[in-house]
Subunit: 418 residues, 2 copies
């Protein structure tokens, strides 16, 4: 099955936003065996959209469109699709009822442009969108499919994941593809490649390995194509096991598992609790931990201590430690850890202090210097990291490294105890 | 002058990388008055590239191509362009000398595929690339221009900035374009559209308005095209002023300003400090505030209090308040605010408690119910928000709304005082 992706929006063509939707869709579609022929971005202009749709419907079996479905005047996808399909916009009563309920539930008034969203082309099937007022539309013509979705990324992803991908897999004979992701942190792409180069060289032609690095973590994706599902799965599992064996310390899980989920699972398993004391990360580690549903079972709370004063008063960091070693030092993060473990009364804790930048660097501790201390009431481990010149990257990298350091520490301690 | 951008590479069509090149180019080209008709991404496949080039040369005055120029076998752009232009690859002696010097300087051995980079189509002008071995190529045919550049972002940007953009501005009569962004928060796209519909309807043909919503915030972008720069700027400023006047409460700034920066600027201006007490947002508001460089000038610290115990012990929330009204209530967030202002000794504070989901909802307080209290030592303001079913969205939306509520509150208080 061959696909074309069309993203619609002036904001893409004037370079105000980067089109991340098409990469996300291309990735998901490839995973279920749908190949992308072309990605086209056009402006909110009827004739351009018509031309792109016409070309796409001729060259592919399925066309995915995002964008141009909002309630405002500059969104013209719906009218344009009516024109292409010779369809009429008609009021969908069920949709109007849903939209009315949606606005009522939020205590918001429904205006005329919101009501217009209940009008849909008479030849399409409405695809639910529980995240917003612009619904998806499923058209079929001459055995080809056209799917139109809103351009808001989280709404589009929701519609694709909950209402489109499985249906395509169920109803169409797609080639059998199996993926397995090995999730790693703490080791760079090229180091991993070096450690597993013989495994990679020995891969059979129908199995491919891709390295997908992202801010301190690397996902290794094995993709196999074949006809017999179980054999392929077993074959990929064997290769995955030999890779995992080689870099065991850095593998924190498989498939879509996030590092904060892996840490959360470990805390739940051992019925332990955690807290954080953060300076340069400004709450990002706590935000990652609490992004996991159910994290209240093991997370108690955090202190974010930006100033010297707050570090002293709230975490009991000694004035002389700050004077002698500085706020960015092994000594300070270790006192921060003791402070937060006492204050939140948790089994484990993470303490962080660093120079996120752009200001605050010194020759000994330039921008990108970060100390992370993890530990419990009897043992702690501090590491110094030398990161980048970029504030946002430093915060994101520190968050990944701190979660990974905490998980590795827990693995060791809980392993010894059990 | 109308342009098409073509990005070439299998990695884009399988979703392994996001195409950021075309957004960067589109932005730069718009700034000098070149309008993008379409962005096309195709794989490293001769017939797909030929088709895209042919279409682009027919529909636009200038075509920008990135990608497919590296030394490896799968990079086929150069051969494909020879075919399109009926040209021959010939050895460019000057280029070979340059490449030889480039490799010598880096102490690297030049192999056969590197040498191939000195061969260029006989009908093009070579555009220098001081950052890498793949040069740019400038073709002209029937008064249309085709520019081919490598896909490595920093190399492409360097070629565009140092060798292409100025030349286009110098040699071609390009229209004048001016953008202005009005940054708003706290009011949905459709409500804004309703409030300013007469202004929008009255816009002259050469000025366009676009709504760019993102998790609780909406950017309004005015784009004007004209010949006399200063008149156009004044005209756009007048329209911007009348829109801003109409929705003044929701406008927090202009152009690329972020909400956390607007709040930070306000705190700096009035030399005030801030702290946060967060429950369901888990540190996301603190992380947003501290994402701004220099935020240590006004941000002291935060307490993230997930459990009842920590709320009581660290913030002084009364046990009876929690029992009688619950952790998600006006009473609790108001006590949290008093607690954090005292604890961190700041002028302003934000306190948040809510049901992020997916668990924890009740009929009275379903998932998505959030209370945000902002205030100082003499006055506070609490709002209840009814958000979505999605945990990540609820956290992100609450962060935007809390920052906006704090900024609006400060505007009022500091306005009254000044």
């Amino acid at each position: 099955m061959l696909a074309t992706i069309i993203t619609i929006g002036d904001e893409i063509l004037i370079g105000q936003i980067v089109d991340t939707n098409s990469a996300w869709m291309a990735n998901k579609l490839n995973e279920i065996g749908i190949k992308i022929h072309e990605i086209i971005s056009v402006s909110d202009n009827e004739s351009h959209i018509l031309e792109a749709v016409d070309k796409s419907m001729k060259q592919s079996d399925i066309v995915f469109i995002t964008g141009g479905l909002g309630p405002t005047k500059d969104d013209i996808t719906k009218a344009t699709l009516c024109k292409y399909f010779n369809a009429e916009l008609i009021l969908n009563e069920a949709l109007l009822t849903q939209l009315t309920a949606y606005f009522k539930q939020r205590g918001r008034v429904m205006n005329e442009s919101n009501k217009m969203q209940a009008y849909v082309p008479d030849n399409c099937e409405v695809i639910p969108n529980e995240r917003g007022t612009a619904k998806g539309m499923w058209f079929e013509k001459d055995n080809r499919i056209l799917l139109s979705m809103p351009g808001v990324p989280h709404e589009m992803k929701h519609i694709m994941e909950d209402h489109i991908l499985q249906r395509l897999q169920r109803d169409y004979a797609l080639p059998y593809i199996h993926h397995k992701n090995i999730m790693t942190a703490g080791l760079g792409e090229s180091y991993i490649a070096e450690k597993i180069s013989d495994i990679e060289d020995g891969l059979p032609a129908h199995i491919k390995l891709a390295y997908l690095p992202h801010l301190g973590a690397v996902r290794l994706r094995l993709t196999g194509r074949g006809k017999v599902g179980t054999d392929l799965i077993e074959e990929i599992n064997r290769i995955s096991a030999s890779i995992t064996d080689r870099i065991a310390f850095y593998v924190y899980g498989f498939d879509e598992l996030k590092l904060e989920e892996a840490l959360g699972n470990l805390l739940k398993k051992h019925q332990k609790t955690i807290s954080t004391a953060e300076s340069c990360t400004g709450g990002s580690v706590a935000a990652a931990i609490t992004s996991v549903p159910g994290s209240s079972a093991y997370y108690e709370g955090s202190l974010i201590t930006y100033s010297y004063e707050v570090k002293q008063r709230e975490l009991g960091v000694k004035a002389e430690t700050l004077t002698k070693y500085g706020a960015v030092s092994t000594e300070t993060v270790e006192e921060m850890l003791v402070g937060i473990l006492g204050k939140m009364n948790t089994d484990y804790g993470i303490a962080i202090s660093g120079v996120a930048g752009p200001g605050g660097g010194t020759p000994e501790k330039p921008v990108g210097t970060v100390y992370v201390c993890v530990g419990n009431k009897t043992k702690m481990q501090t590491k110094r990291y030398q990161l980048t010149q970029n504030r946002a990257d430093n915060i994101a990298l520190t968050t990944t490294y701190a979660l990974f350091q905490m998980k590795s520490f827990m693995d060791e301690v809980e392993g010894l105890l059990s």
